[in-house]
Amino acid sequence: MADFRSQLLRIATSLVRTHGFTREALSRSVLELPAGKAHSEPLSDSAVSSLFGIGEYARKSLIEAWLNEGIIQMASKPSSSLSHVLHTRLNYNEPVLPYLPEAFALLASPERGLPPLDPRPALKHAARIADEASYISGDTSSQLSWYTHRASLAVMYSCAELHQLTSPETAHAFLDSLLTGSSAFEKSLDEVHFFSGYVLQSWKGILRSRGIL
């Protein structure tokens, strides 16, 4: 049953561009099954509820499946260029841009009352893309820089994606400007770190010459 559900979700993600993140897309997924298994009628509403959840839970399942498919798409076009990987992910959004604002709003809606917005799905989405992009581009950061590299990528990608929702034509250029600015910032941080190392060595030398160390 779990395999059948996963298969239908995968098919439904390809229907999002025509039907949006809707229960209808899930319902019609059975029509696109391989020959011999395809149904002649879409699933009933009760069947969609029993397979994917009642009400908005079903839509949330579809949105999450679509986001997972986005990660798989990133990995299917490996590149050593981080910029290329992130642009690929932005391209994945393009066919379904009109439906994305509502989809993200739905994910951020809490299941119960308070708080009014749940930031965790957005953070998880950005973190997954940052991690996958780092892996595909061959990033070798370790220890604390593993976190700082991914955090900065997540922020940049999130900004570019939000920009894409309002101004899709300039989204890729905006992402490029963020990546360029970030690498300049990283170089400055490295230089500060290097200089601090020199200062520390000088202090050590002074303390040794005074017999303190």
């Binding site: 892996y135 070798t140 370790s142 220890q143 604390l144 593993w146 976190y147």
Partner: protein
């Protein structure tokens, strides 16, 4: 005929060509699946266990490096103890190099407590070294006892991982090699009068308990 530590050293010397860690430190083929890929056909529980195991191993090697750094800062110039600490520290540097590569290979999140591990390790090494060379050796004895047991427990957990992926048998061999190295450090510490340290029992208990707490924290965070 030989003590267990001497036997281990002799065995290590004769088998030096076959150290598992050479796959990472002297790779003959960088694209070898054993050092460049991670098993994908494992359950979520196995993946979580593998993640936390490698995370804590990497953190442990970072902490060990900084403990020896702290000890070396204080005792590095001593004619006997200095070179001993340097030798053990060099081995830990190699361990850390391998763990860093395994962390990337298996896409493991490193612990967020890495900086705490560095500061804590340096502080522990420096403070025990200030108490004297015996106390420094007692610290090494306590830490390596906990680490040796920890690696042993990990080897038992790793038995459940599928051996059909080439990285898994290599990982087991690397952990075995590092466990033996840590136990060798333990022997060195005992041979160099760790048990003559002032308040040896208290020092060992406190350091050992601290290591166990650090292991549990790094597994999760």
């Amino acid at each position: 005929m030989f003590s267990s530590s001497t036997a281990r050293r002799l065995s290590r010397y004769t088998n030096r060509r076959f150290l598992a860690s050479y796959a990472y430190t002297k790779p003959s083929s960088p694209s070898d699946a054993a050092i460049s890929t991670t098993p994908l056909d494992i359950t979520d529980e196995q993946r979580a266990a593998l993640d936390s195991a490698l995370r804590v191993d990497q953190a442990g090697e970072v902490a060990a490096n900084w403990i020896y750094y702290g000890q070396h800062c204080i005792l590095g110039k001593q004619p006997v103890t200095g070179p001993l600490i340097q030798e053990m520290w060099d081995q830990e540097k190699k361990h850390l190099e391998v763990m860093n590569k395994m962390q990337l290979q298996h896409r493991v999140r490193p612990t967020i407590l890495m900086e705490v591990a560095k500061i804590g390790g340096f502080g522990l090494g420096a403070v025990t070294a200030l108490l004297g060379k015996e106390a420094a050796m007692a610290c090494t004895e306590a830490v390596e006892t906990v680490i040796g047991e920890h690696y042993d427990d990990q080897l038992k957990e790793m038995e459940s991982l599928p051996s059909n992926h080439p990285s898994v048998p290599l990982m087991r061999e690397v952990v075995k090699e590092f466990r033996d190295d840590e136990l060798e450090h333990l022997d060195i510490a005992v041979t160099n009068h760790a048990q003559r340290a002032p308040a040896h029992a208290l020092l060992s208990t406190v350091v050992g308990a601290g290591c166990k707490v650090a292991i549990e924290l790094c597994k999760r965070y």
